[in-house]
Amino acid sequence: MKFDDWLPLLILFTSLLPGIVIFLLPEERTRWRTALNLGGAGLKLVLTGIMIWGVRHAHVYETRLPMLPEIELVLNADAMSMMMTALSGVLWFVTTLYAIAYLETSSQSRSRFFGFFSLCVSSTIGIALAGNLITFLMFYEMLTLTTYPLVVHRGTPESLHAGRTYIAYTIAGGAAFLIGVAWLKALVGSVAFTEGGMLAPYVDLFPSQLRLIFLLMICGLGVKAALVPLHGWLPQAMVAPAPVSALLHAVAVVKAGAFGIVRVVYDVYGIEFSAELGLLQPLAAAAAFTIVYGSVRALFQDELKKRLAFSTVSQVSYIALGAAILGPIATIGGIVHLVHQGLMKITLFFCAGNFAETLGVHHVSRMHGIGRRMPWTMAAFTVGALGMIGVPPLAGFVSKWYLGAGAMAAGKPWVIAVLIASSLLNAAYFLPILYRGWFQEPAEPGFGQPPAGKLETHWMLLGPPLLTALLALLAGLLANAPFSPLEWARLITAREYHP
């Protein structure tokens, strides 16, 4: 096999192998651990870059491993995989930096943490690169298993309770997804991802079975994507350490669910066929409901991470909404929001983690004047929050614009109402935080000024949110530049619609 055939597997191994080695490292070997983590992350970025360049020039990167007589493990690099892989790679790198700083002060069992951390990213890359539903299913379940120890890392009763809820939801979702995939395979024989979908020829043979399979798969994916009413695990999982929340909400779990929904709608069923079967209306309705519900719940949360959690519930459904509207513009909006939401949300979580770790502030009601004590962090938070609301020229605005335009083009003006409502609600729960942080007098002692001559917090806790905030800004400002997420989304969409 040529190098091209091995490259997808290699990218997987750049986090798998360090993960396994890290498990075996004794606790004290901090340097080794850091080196392995960052080395693996860096190597992954390099290989991802090579693959992106190759995919642009129509190279084919595919690893096929036989698993059973009729089933192969397929890792395939198409445009959509590369977008997700690149997002995961970049965000893993910054989260690793952040996690190293965050955990080195507090805890025990760092080897266990970083081991599972790396395995978690490997699972995400596997999901991104999966070329058929079986491979996707495998890595999807692996993601569940590798994130559980991260959620219960602290070992407190709340963590374990959250872990139990998490497992209950995700395993049940996985079972639904498994039934869907097995059923589809038994009906149709092939479960490969094909640009434009591959089920259209079967419309006359089993329409109601295909509808039921779609429902099963969306339920299974919707658990991780936090579609209401399957979102119950997400706010509870906030008891995990901040790097875990950042990872779960921007990179791994939630994105995996949303990515899966996109894959099923575009590459298994095909967007036109989905519309034909009448599957898009219910999906759009569920997504819209989730968007509003999540935002409303976020309004009433005082704990910052819980507020961000409900915000995630709301924002990820933009992706599902984009997938559920027929028309290339909406598709572009949904797909590009995968990246944009990731960048913005991880910034917000990093900042929340900084507030908690450096100042012990977990609640919005205690954030008076925090901008004076931690100006840089608050600035990053502001960028992320404004992006969520949809203020131009930030990335969030670009996604919402495309979604709105796509809804108009598809003749669904009610979606615009949902978008506007959501933006208003976002403003309602983010702007008070910004106001309180910047403009109100500090109530806590020691909130006056940042410590003289030092950074407001550890550089590895400060750098990542600033970097991701900058990326969110650039993704919006330079949206029309080549290699921007938007341009990439346009490329993907062009291949999904039959001319």
């Binding site: 036989p66 698993m67 007589p69 569940t144 070992g155 039934i179 097995a182 038994a186 009906l187």
Partner: protein, 486 residues
């Protein structure tokens, strides 16, 4: 015999049976050598089984006749892909159990009695998988049962003795019913061979009595619901390596015989209703076993009930194979369950044994925070649990997928529903222990140190269960030799 005759691969079956027997005798005569005899047997048997497997892949099934005396008075041995796979998994799991037992029994008085009995059990298993006639199977079943009972009693507690005597009585009853079936079979057909294809025309009605008797005896010995009542106490009260061997291998022995009988000898005479009946019992086993596992207070009892549930999965091979459409997926699925359950269940019992060794008890309620003291064992438990639940990328997932596929293609989707429910229940009972292990307790109570070999053999077996999931093409190629569906 010339050297050529001794080294001929055809004689491997005889050696595979004799080596553990010789080691057992050695362990009785010279008790101090018990452990080393065990290790030596493990290595040698593994090598011979590998050679046999290779021979089968290249040249097809292997047959030999002992001493040159032909059946039916002489004993013939037969090895095809299924035998090789069962011998292989026995060698693998028993090898790990042997290593574990070195640590577990080191320095204790029970060691003197463990090694001969363990070698006898291994010899019996090997002979069972190599037998070519149904009476020889009876003999091996009895040898297997007697060694297993004695091993269960090794714990020395009153509970263990009671469990052992119940196990013995039930086992003897099962064998006796089986023997009656053999007698009827011989009376009707005049032959004892396993590979005979009895002509359909010859008295189909009179074949149901032998079959019913043999099946009843074997179902009793395989602990299919509702004949499972003897299994949980026996497996829970035995010493850890013995529990591992019982759950992983011994119950598979009688199941293997039933497989052979059903698919090779009696296939034309079986009516589909009996297959569905077995399936319903299997479904009941899955649900009932999993529910009882959820309620168990002791870890080893939880694992024993998990075995009851997993045996249900094994028996689903019968209804799923009764329909030809969709190919032999159910055959491979069932066998994959056998192989991966052997590795996973042994790993779980071995790690439970390590936990018990450390804490002195196995009450689940009081086992919090274990992950700090025994991370390797907890990880082994988790990995093996992945296979038991049926999550990718394990052997259990491959087996479940094959079953699901066949169930959906053949239109028998209700078995699929049962399996999914079984998977969810398995998640619940695995996490009962696993979640508790992660609780962060401030006090790190003192516990006995656990020999490293105990923890790492458990982990090794758990890895094998996972690797089985990735090596499916190779394993199915081996299982295909002598496939009854060809």
């Amino acid at each position: 015999m010339s050297l050529n005759e001794i080294l001929n691969p055809v004689t491997l079956p005889a050696w595979i049976v004799s080596v553990p027997l010789a080691a057992a005798v050695l362990a009785v005569v010279l008790p101090k050598t018990g452990g080393w005899a065990g290790i030596f047997t493990a290595i040698l048997t593994a090598a011979m089984v590998a050679a046999l497997g290779h021979e089968i892949l290249v040249h097809g099934p292997v047959q030999m006749v002992i001493g040159g005396w032909l059946p039916p008075l002489g004993i013939a041995l037969y090895a095809d892909g299924l035998s090789a796979a069962m011998l292989g998994i026995t060698a693998l799991v028993s090898g790990c159990i042997t290593l574990y037992a070195r640590g577990y029994f080191s320095g204790s008085a029970a060691s003197r009695r463990f090694w001969p009995l363990w070698m006898f059990l291994w010899a019996a298993l090997n002979a069972l998988f190599l037998s070519a006639d149904i009476f020889n199977l009876y003999v091996t079943l009895e040898l297997l049962g007697l060694s297993a009972v004695a091993l269960v009693a090794l714990s020395g507690t009153a509970d263990a003795f009671r469990a052992a005597v119940r196990y013995l009585l039930v086992g003897l009853t099962g064998s006796l019913i089986y023997l009656t079936g053999v007698a009827f079979f011989y009376a009707v057909t005049g032959t004892l061979g396993l590979n005979i294809k009895v002509a359909v025309g010859s008295a189909p009605a009179s074949m149901t009595v032998p079959f019913a008797l043999m099946a009843a005896g074997l179902i009793l010995k395989s602990a299919l619901f509702p004949m499972h009542f003897w299994l949980p106490p026996a497996h829970a009260n035995a010493p850890a390596p013995v529990s591992a061997a019982l759950s992983a291998l011994v119950v598979k022995g009688s199941f293997y015989i039933l497989l052979r009988l059903w698919f090779t000898v009696f296939m034309p005479f079986i009516n589909p209703f009996s297959a569905q009946l077995v399936g319903m019992l299997a479904a009941a086993a899955i649900i009932w076993g999993s529910l009882q596992a959820l309620l168990a207070e002791r870890l080893k009892l939880l694992v024993a009930y998990s075995t009851v549930a997993q045996i249900g999965y094994l028996f689903l091979i019968f209804p799923l194979s009764s329909i030809a459409q969709g190919g032999p997926n159910a055959w491979f699925g069932g066998l994959y369950f056998v192989l991966s359950h052997a590795c996973a269940k042994a790993a779980v019992f071995l790690s439970a044994g390590a936990v018990m060794h450390c804490c002195g008890h196995d009450r689940i309620r009081d086992l919090h925070g274990i992950v700090a003291r025994l991370p390797v064992s907890v990880f082994a438990f988790a990995l093996a649990g992945v296979s038991l639940i049926g999550l990718p990328p394990s052997g259990g997932f491959i087996a479940k997928w094959l079953y699901l596929n066949k169930a959906l293609v053949a239109g028998q989707w209700w078995w699929g529903v049962v399996m999914i429910i079984g998977g969810l229940l398995a998640t619940a009972y695995i996490f009962r222990f696993f979640a508790r292990a992660f609780i962060n307790t401030p006090e790190v109570a003192a516990g006995r140190p656990v020999p490293w070999i105990m923890e790492w053999t458990a982990l090794g077996l758990a890895f094998c269960a996972i690797i089985l999931g990735l090596a499916a093409p190779a394993v199915t190629r081996l299982l295909d030799v002598g496939n009854p569906f060809q």
